[in-house]
Each structure stands twice: as structure tokens, then as C-alpha cells.
Amino acid sequence: MSTQEFRTAQGGRIDRSRPIRFRFDGSDYTGYVGDTLASALLANGVIQTSTSIKFDRPRGIFAAGAEEPNALVQVEAPFPEPMLTATTVELYDGLVACGLGGQGRLSPEPDPARYDSVHVHCDVLVVGAGPAGLAAAAVAAETGARVIVVDERPEPGGSLLGTRETSVLEWATSVADRLRSNPEVKLLTRTTAFGYYDDNFVLAVERRTNHLGAAAPAHRSRERIWRIRARRVILATGAHERPLAFNGNDIPGVMLAGAARTYVNRYGVLPGRRAVVLTTNDSAYEAVFDLLDAGVEIAAVADLRTGGSPVWGPRCAERGVEVLAGYGVADVTGADRVSAVTLAGPDGSRDVAADLLLVSGGWNPVGALYSHAGGRLRFDTDLGSFVPDGCRQAVAVAGAAKGTFGLAGCLAEGAAAGREAVEAAGFTAPADTRLPAADEQPASPTAQVWVLPGDESRQYVDLQRDVTVAEIRRATGAGMRSVEHVKRYTTAGTAHDQGKTSGVLTSGVVAHLLGVDVGELGTTTFRPPYTPVSFAALAGRDRGMLYDPVRVTALHPWHEAAGALFENVGQWKRPWYYPRDGEDMHAAVLRECRAAREGVAMMDASTLGKIDVQGPDAAVLLDRLYTNMMSTLKVGSIRYGVMCRADGMVFDDGTVIRLAEDRFLVTTTTGGAAAVLEWMEDFLQTEWPDLRVHCTSVTEQWATVALVGPRSREVLATLAPTLAVDNASFPFMTWRDTEVAGIPTRVCRISFSGELAYELNVSWWDALALWQAVYDAGQPFGITTYGTETMHVLRAEKGFPIIGQDTDGTVTPQDLGMDWIVSKKKADFVGKRSFARADNHRPDRKQLVGLLPDDGTTLLPEGVHLVAAETVATGALPEPPVPMLGHVTSSYHSAALGRPFALALIRGGRGRIGERVYAPLGDALVPVTITSSVLYDPEGARRDG
């Protein structure tokens, strides 16, 4: 167990009273609550975390936040999670992790954690709880506006956390406390806004239990997606420090200056003992003094500006820190860690011993979210970075994210943004805003430098992808002129960090090599997410059985108890068949079919769509939508109808019941219910607003039980004593309202099987009572329940098509042999015009026919294709492409026919009835004969019992 020899004696925001044990790359270490994995490793003297992906070079902790390009780790325990940045992994007891050079590892075990998402609305959303963000939130919250503040860190304060601005930090803490106690404010820490979408829709992910390790409570979601809809958004997302390209800039010990400052101040960790500093701007000097005071020796400061820093130069002199103006780094020595730095400048070069090289190449405002929102960026030559330049959404940017780097400026800008936002949202901002005093250094201009002189093959631009200046030069040399091409050629900016530190540098280097203006060149596009988001978080609660709604009928529990197997039909679960002991599907379906044909059987048909159509013009509407005539339907009667899309292809079918002169009940297919209703409304609202019709879905108002078979009349008679069930009193395709088993029931004489059959419609609430009553009453007749498979067999024996199975959106009613249902009288109905198109008159259109395998035993697989006899005249298939006649749409064993049969769509099929064709099954050619699609009871003798 190594001691934390790089931990300062005191200071930092860690809790030294709460040590934490963790394991990294097989060694055990301790850290403190408040540490990140990176800070704890540094405290233990570990700076190298991995080797690079391509050149296998040692790589060390380079930054202190989400922008970290090097320190990728794989969490192994408590549960494996691939590729996280050590700089953002909070330390917890029992953490086991290892460095990652290349690929992360997924756990083969199922993730036990819960994930969820929540919708939230606010007047003002503030992204970033640094000085600017907190100032904005403080103003906004005072007005009673609903405010949400999100920050990716575990505690508010942002960049302040890495400084010694104690008075401002105290202010930040008090603001945070006030925000927390305000019922209209949500202050979300550990929450990263990762995407900014249309109409101020911002997505954020909250890491809720990770930091608790194995102690995470099981009831709490591990990660939560916040779906935030904000009237105004303030982006106070800060800035990332930019590295420079120079020889050996990838060796562990080379670190961003601001990061080193954060390690010292926030974590009480010394990233090294003796440091050299390389900078293009004043900000690095803050690090110099913070490190000095913490006991780090500053060997030298190389300030690339020939004049150095007027403000900081003298102060350094006072403290005996040597500043070399106009100097840069010529080289870095050291294998696994920096050992010396070669500085070069006007007066030659010299080697300086050091274990740390701090770099500041300037700062990049974090523009990702702003870009997601559609905001433009422009290059500010004074700042040497890309800054916000206008966005159509209701968003403001404040602080370093806008290129304002002074603390006082950030506070003022934040407060102003907050004021503006609440006023725009209709609230009255407080007269004055109390902001803490922040002594602001007059900053001298930044030198704009991207690459230092040296060996381009040792100057790294993208540390994670091992992309050097030399590789970028190879790209431009190959003819690449756009950053996007260079990115793809070199893979710069495509790694886990998506170029947070390397992106702008890449543009700068390309501009430098092509001799063009970096502003003209631009950057690659920012895309969500800002930082990686887990799949599980995005999937949220829509997992397993909640992935998609399970729709069930009122009878579902009965079916389950009866041991039914279920078929997914859209979102519905429908009984497929009801196997008895030891029965396979084949046996069960034959039994169910036999019962329906020879005795009596019952089925739950409740999933059919039902639409109540009423109004004086109801019949007119139906006449326009169905291919056949509905206005001539008599009250008390029922008619089957087909609907086509305007292109003439069959779209849905079902029965139409006329309840009154001005009222119909339309049934649709199970899958078609919603589409048909929306379609009717479409025509009513947009095409024929003059029609006086209202359509209302009653799909779940009514449950439907199909009672089928020659003995169904007897069963019904026993249950409905007052109903005259004889054929004359209650003919086919009529309906009656009566009581069945004392339950108000609408009985329809409809048959989808060809047998004498009834559909009993009752209230969804009464379904179970009716079903049980019918089942009990049917026992003496051996009543049998059946599912969708048997239903399909029965209808197929009669040649009744199933829309979506025997049709595929390319089939007309005529193709189905349903010319009889296409009205010749009506001037128009939807789809009619399309029937006149040339292609609809081709004699070789595919038509629905029946098929009988000649051997009387082979069951043709559904989907198998048919070929003509002449095609296989040689007795074998010719070389492909083999001409096909069509395919099998439905195929079953028929109990009634005592043999397998099929329905198929065949070119010119009706003209081929009697013809022998062949079905290639594997290597065999199965001879089958084309027949009429109606194979059972063609004269329809059975429907009246």
C-alpha cells in the first residue's frame, strides 16, 4: 500500500478524514473522498496511465477534467464500464480500474442498474455552475422564475474550485445554498448537458450513484437523462486550455498549466516536484504562483512572447522565478516521465532538469452546445480562439465560454445574462446585483502559436490518436485542403475526447501548413453528445417488457390460464393456439380446425379495430373510402368492404355494420385500426369538411367473441332464449341486439371461416363473463377455443385473404380476384383512378390463387417461390437469375381437405388454373397444381349451417 507522497500537507477540497482504498493496474492505493481517480493517482506518484494506441508510447495525465485526452481507464469493479477519463471518475471505496490504451471492455453480465429519464421545464436553464453561471442563476432565481442549473462536477464553483479565490468561492457556496433552498430552482451537480436541440430542448445526463460505488442504493436510477425544455438558456460552459505542438509534448509529465493548478488547489496534490512552464499567455502565471506556494520548484518559465508578461514578469523576479521571454521548448527528455526540458530562444538553448512541464497555448471557449443549437462560431484573432457569433435560438453565452477570461468580467457577464434572460421570460429582475469583488489582472495579449520549431514526427497534435504534425503535413501534401479531410486522413479529433484539446490545434496546424487563415479554415463540426453517454441511460426505462407496450384484450388472463401460446400482432398479444397435453402446434391446429368445421369453436376477436361513424353524411363518406357501395346497406345489415390507398393498392378491409340511417360501426384489421381512423379524419378535415360525419374509436369499448361451427347456433340458442336464431329470422350478414347469458350483446352473423358463425360483441367489461358463459354452454357440444393460426387456416381454405400477409402493398382488389367488390356504379372512390393505369392492365399481374402440392403431403413453406414447368424442363433449375412466377403467401395443413394447401400470388394466376408449376425446396423441385383460391365449400353451402 503506497503512501500519498505527492499529497500536500493541507489544503484542497478533499476530505482527509475519509480515506478511500482503490486499485489501479493491479496495485492498491489510497486516496480521499473528493478525489478523482486521476488526482488520487497523482497523489501516489502515478502519472502514466496508459500507452498510446498507435505508437505504444507512455501517456500520462494531461488535464483535470472532461477534456482529458490521455488518461482513459476501464472500470473493472464494482461493475465493468469501458473507457472513462480518470480525471472525471470520482474515487470510491472498492474502485478497481486499469489504464486503457485502446479498446474498452463490455461486461458479458447483464447490467443490474436502473436507468431513467425525466421531463422538466424551466424559464431559465444555466449550463455551468462556475462564476458566470452562478452569477446568472443568482439573479434569475431571485425573481421567482423557474431556474435549472446543471454542472458536470460534483460541486458548484466551476473553475473557481481550482483556484485560491477564497472570497469568491465563499460567495459561490452561499449562492449555491440559496439556490438549493429555493423551491423553484433545481441545482443539478454531476450532470452534463450533452446536447442542445431544437426549440431550446437541452439533454443532460445526471450520474446519480456512480460515486457511491458498491453502496449505490438499488432503488435509485444510476443515470438519469434530463429532458429540459427551457424558455431561455444561458451557456456558461467555460473554456478548455489549449496545448502546443512541440518535440516530445506527449511524454508523461507534460500537463496543461491550468490542470496542474487544479490538482494543487482543489485536490491538494503536487503533479510534480520541479516544473518548467511554457506559455503563450498570462494565465499560466497563476499556475506558477499556486504551485510555488504549494512547494513546487519552478525551474523556469518560457514565455513565447518576446516581451514576456509585463504584469507577471516583475512578480516572478520578486519570487526568484526565472522567466525566459521569447523562449520555447525545443525538446523534452524522459522515457516514462519528463526528466529534462530543452528551452530555446534568442540567446540559444539550455537544458533544464524537471519532472513536470506545464503548457498553456491559450484557451478555447467550449462551443459545443452552442454549435448543437445552430450557433455560429468566429475566430477572434485577439483571443486566438473561436467564439460565439450568433444563434437563432433563445440562448446567451457568458464568461469564458464567450471568451471573457477575467474573473470580474465573468461575474458581471453572468449576472447581466441572468438579468436579460428572466426579463425576456417575463420576470422583473432585482434592481441591483451584489457580486463579490474579484481583483482582475490586466492581461497582456496572447501570442498566437500552434507549432514550435522541431521534428514534426515528434510533435503531437492529437495525443489519443497519435497524430503528429508530420502526419498532418502528409495529409496536406496528399492534396487535403479542408479540415474535415485532414481529420479523416489522420483521424485527428475522432477519439474519445472528440478533439476537446486537439481540435482547434489541428485547425491551427493545418492553417499553418497551408499558409491560410485559421478563421477561414474553421473547425470540424461539433456533434452531440458533448461527453460520451451510456447506451443504458439513453434507453432509460424502455427495456424488457416495457420496451414497447403490450396490448391485451379483456380475455388475456383467461387465455394465459388456458395455456395458450401467444403471437405478437403489432403491439397486441393474441392467442396463437391452445395446445393440450403433449400436443405440438400441428396437432393442436388440426384439432381446433376440426372443431370449427365439424362442431363448434370460439375465438377472441377483440383486437379488431372498431370505429363509430355517425352523422347525416356517414354513408357518403364510406362510399368514397370503400371500393364497394355502403350507402345501399340496410339498417340491421352488414357488408364486407375493402379500402384502397389512392394508388389503388389494398390498404385495409373489414365489415361495415349499419346501426341506423346515420350511424355505422366500421371494423378494421387488428393492425390497421389507428391508420384507418387517422385516414378518415384526414379526408373529413382536409378534403371534405362539408361532410357532416364524426368518427370515434371504440376498439376497446367492444370485446368480440367469435362463435363458429355447425353447432354454434345451438350454443347461441341456449344462451339467448329470446333471440330467434333460425336462418330466416336471423340471416347471414345481419345483426341483432339482444342478451346473451343475460349480458347485453350485439350478435353479428359474420363468417370468416365459411361456417355458420356469430360474432358476439359486448362491453369490454363483460367480455370475461360472456366468454365463460359461452365456454360453459358449449361444453356439451365439445366447444373448442382456437387462436390466430386456426383462424388463418379456416379463412385460407375459403380463399379469404389476410391484408398484409396475402397482400404486400402492391396488390389490387382485382389481383385478389375481388372484382365483385369494386363498384362500377360509383363515379369515384379512393383508388379508382389508379386501376386505369397501364400497369394495372398487364395480363401478367400477380393474382391470388390456390396451390395443391401434387404429392398431397408436402407443406410448402410460406415465402417459397414458384417457377413455370418450361423453366425447369431439364428437371433442374437453370443458372440464375431464374424467372419466378410468384410466391406462396399462406400455407397450411388442412384438416378439412386432408392435405396441405397454399395461397399464392402468381403472374397471370387465374389464367393458369390447372397448370402444374414447381416450387424449388432446397435441391428438390416440388410439383404443385394451381387451383382456384377457394378450396373449401366453394358453393358456400355451409355458412347457414
Partner: protein, 408 residues
């Protein structure tokens, strides 16, 4: 040892020139995407037509070519589709040699999963049609699906259990930029001018014949003008007064961090709307459904991505803690029958290639081959004859969504 991804072949030291546009060309191709570049290549290679300019408003292959999920397959339902996609696949199989460029064409197979009895019928129908059309295809039961891709969850206890799948072993993926650049380099080497940041602002028509284009870099005369603008097909055609039955929609995709190999093939599922492969460096590359509305924004709505993640975890529970690194969107031009349009237009010497929807990448070499033939001869190649504009008038559609043929 060097990490994964280090074995990706480098791009060559030389790719293409950055020429100034000439006054006139025999053929001007509008659109420097994969299709435009492949067309230029085959015009030069197969027809000896090298006085060709490819005009690109942005950077070469920066549209759908740079945004697609690189799936390559030819197992389409209808004869017409199978014909052109299978021709493309055969070209893919020789492309690496032909273009002398490591396009990383990996025939790792593509699985299309079935989740309902109707899915199964449609799948078998497609497999049987494929076999008779000479396209390699098999129907796999759930156990066989798991043998091909062990991480697929075939448990019957999920919302939409896997009932099986179709498998095309010769299908696979390639590296999109490499493919585009390979065509570009070869075309450039044969004298084709690849002109970037050159937006076409008008098409000059004299006596019903296209004679040139106007661009942000000046007018350019042309013997023939070939439109190849994918998502922007309508915008470009409108310059010639030609209406196209296409609508442009956003199609989104995403990529994960680099992961150890877990996914050896390509898995697609229409029923739960997701398709996944693990690319050469180890990242998971995924696509989802098309956003419903018209859009040129190269971005879509986030709930589509969330839905896609739910679907992905239904099929691949092991992905739970993988991370989305980057999302993006392309613009797909979709026709009423989900099949492409390639051929002549009402304007002489103006040619159209569009409507590839989500199938554009996999068709790239086939499109280049057939479109070049169409342009060179002034009449369609037999393989693209069925994909004429006229079909929308006669009704002879090639309806690839009707029969649940898998998109993407």
C-alpha cells in the same frame, strides 16, 4: 504491442489535385459524393471519357458518403433491385485490387432479424427470391443466429423475441472515406477534374438540351450534365425545371468508443429499428429509423436515438454500459416506392441519379458502372432501365418497402 486501430492502413501520400475549373467539359457531374466519384471513374475507365468535371459544393464525399453506416449487401426482394445491388456487390469484391486502395471491404455477413410471424414469411420470401436470383442468402433459426452472432439475445422472454433471421455471408462493410477517396484518386489520375467548393447555381438549357451549368466559380459548358446530388437531388433538378418524386429526410447514426471485439457481423432489425456493426478499430456503428419529416439539416430528433438505444439493448444486453461518442445525420432522398431513380430526364443530355434513400453506399460501384453507361450511351444500362422516372406514371413500381424488404 501497438493498440488496436494501429493496423489500419494509412492513406497514400498522394490523393488528388485541386484544379481550377475549365471553361468546358464533355461531362459535368453535379455532386462529388461516392456516386459522383464512382461515375466519373467508370466514365473514364469503361468509356474512355476523361474530359469530366465533378463539381462539389463542399468537400469531396462530405455528404451521405461520410455519414452512412457502410453496410454492403445485395439481398433485396425484387429482381430489379437484386440485379443492380448484386452487380454492385460483385464489383465490391474486386474493388480493392481494381482501385489499388485498402478500402477495408470486410465480408463479415449481414443478418436481418425477424421478430414476428409476418417477418418470418417476408424473410423467407426474400431469401428464396435471392437464391433464384443468384444472391447468396440463407434463413437461420434463432440458434443459428446466435452461432453467427453470439451476443444476440435470442431469449423467448423478451418483448419481441428473435424468431430467426436472413443471412447473406458475402455482405459486409467497408471504410467509407477510403472508398470515396479510392475512386477520387483513380478518377483524378485519369484526368478527371475534381472541383471542390464549387456550388452549381443553375443549369443552362438550350432548345430542351442541357449545355452547361452556372456555378459559384463561373459558368461551365458541358456536353452532358449528370445529376448526382442525393439529398439535394430535388434542389439541383429544380434548376433544370425537372420535378422528381423524392423527399429528403434526416437519417441519423452514431458511434461508440473503441471496444474489444464482441460483434463479428452486421445485424439489422426492422421490427425494432436498429442496425449495428463493429467497425475495424472496435467502435460500434449504428443507425436507426428515418425521421418522419423533410429535412436538409443533417440532424434529426433525439427521441429517434433514444428509441434506437432501447432497441439495441433489447438485441444486445451487453451494450448497456457502452457509450455514445458521436451522433450525426445525413439527408436521404426517398422515393414513393423506396427504389432509386436512374436514367434520362425530360431534358436532353441531362441525366438523373437519385432516390437511393438508405441504400446509396452499398450501391456505389454499381451506380457508377450503370450511370456511366447511361451517360456515355444516352440510354440506360439494362440494370437500371427498370428504375426510370416513367414507372411512376405507368404504375410499374419496384416497391421495396411493401414487402418489408429491409431498408438500409
Amino acid at each position: 504491442m501497438a493498440g488496436p486501430g494501429s493496423d489500419l492502413p494509412d492513406h497514400p501520400d498522394w490523393l488528388w489535385r485541386t484544379p481550377e475549373p475549365k471553361r468546358s467539359y464533355d461531362v459535368v457531374i453535379i455532386g462529388g459524393g461516392g456516386h459522383g466519384l464512382a461515375t466519373a471513374y467508370y466514365l473514364a475507365k469503361n468509356h474512355g471519357i476523361t474530359n469530366v468535371a465533378v463539381l462539389e459544393r463542399g468537400w469531396l464525399a462530405g455528404g451521405n458518403m461520410a455519414r452512412n453506416t457502410t453496410i454492403i449487401r445485395s439481398n433485396y426482394l425484387w429482381d430489379e433491385s437484386a440485379g443492380i445491388y448484386e452487380h454492385a456487390l460483385k464489383l465490391w469484391e474486386g474493388l480493392e485490387e481494381q482501385l489499388d486502395y485498402p478500402i477495408l471491404f470486410s465480408q463479415r455477413g449481414v443478418l436481418n432479424l425477424a421478430h414476428s410471424l409476418q417477418d418470418v414469411r417476408d424473410s423467407v420470401r426474400r431469401v428464396e427470391a435471392n437464391r433464384l436470383n443468384g444472391v447468396d442468402a440463407e434463413w437461420l433459426d434463432p440458434q443459428q443466429v446466435k452461432e453467427v452472432c453470439p451476443i444476440v439475445n435470442i431469449s423467448p422472454d423478451v418483448r419481441y423475441p428473435v424468431l430467426g433471421g436472413t443471412y447473406q455471408p458475402r455482405a459486409g462493410i467497408a471504410k467509407h472515406d477510403y472508398v470515396a477517396w479510392a475512386f477520387a484518386r483513380a478518377a483524378d489520375a485519369m484526368g478527371v477534374d475534381l472541383i471542390q467548393h464549387c456550388e452549381v447555381t443553375g443549369i443552362d438549357i438550350v432548345d430542351g438540351r442541357a449545355v452547361g451549368v452556372r456555378t459559384t466559380r463561373g459558368p461551365i459548358a458541358a456536353g452532358k450534365v449528370a445529376m448526382c446530388a442525393a439529398g439535394h437531388a430535388s434542389v439541383v433538378a429544380a434548376m433544370a425545371g425537372v420535378d422528381l418524386p423524392v423527399q429528403s429526410h434526416p437519417l441519423q447514426a452514431l458511434v461508440s468508443e473503441l471496444l474489444e471485439p464482441v460483434h463479428p457481423t452486421v445485424v439489422m432489425s426492422n421490427a425494432v429499428h436498429v442496425y449495428v456493426s463493429q467497425a475495424h478499430k472496435g467502435e460500434l456503428v449504428m443507425g436507426a429509423g428515418i425521421d418522419s419529416y423533410n429535412g436538409y439539416g443533417q440532424r434529426g430528433s433525439f427521441h429517434i436515438i433514444e428509441r434506437q438505444m432501447s432497441a439495441a439493448l433489447e438485441l444486445f444486453p451487453t451494450f448497456a454500459r457502452a457509450h455514445v461518442l458521436r451522433t450525426w445525420g445525413g439527408i436521404v432522398d426517398v422515393t414513393p416506392d423506396a427504389s432509386a431513380i436512374m436514367g434520362l430526364t425530360p431534358v436532353d443530355e441531362l441525366y438523373v441519379n437519385c432516390g437511393w434513400g438508405t441504400g446509396g453506399f452499398k450501391a456505389t460501384p454499381g451506380v457508377g458502372w450503370c450511370y456511366a453507361h447511361t451517360i456515355a450511351n444516352g440510354e440506360p444500362h439494362p440494370l437500371n432501365a427498370p428504375f426510370s422516372l416513367e414507372r411512376f406514371t405507368t404504375g410499374a413500381l419496384v416497391d421495396e418497402h411493401g414487402a418489408a424488404a429491409v431498408a438500409h
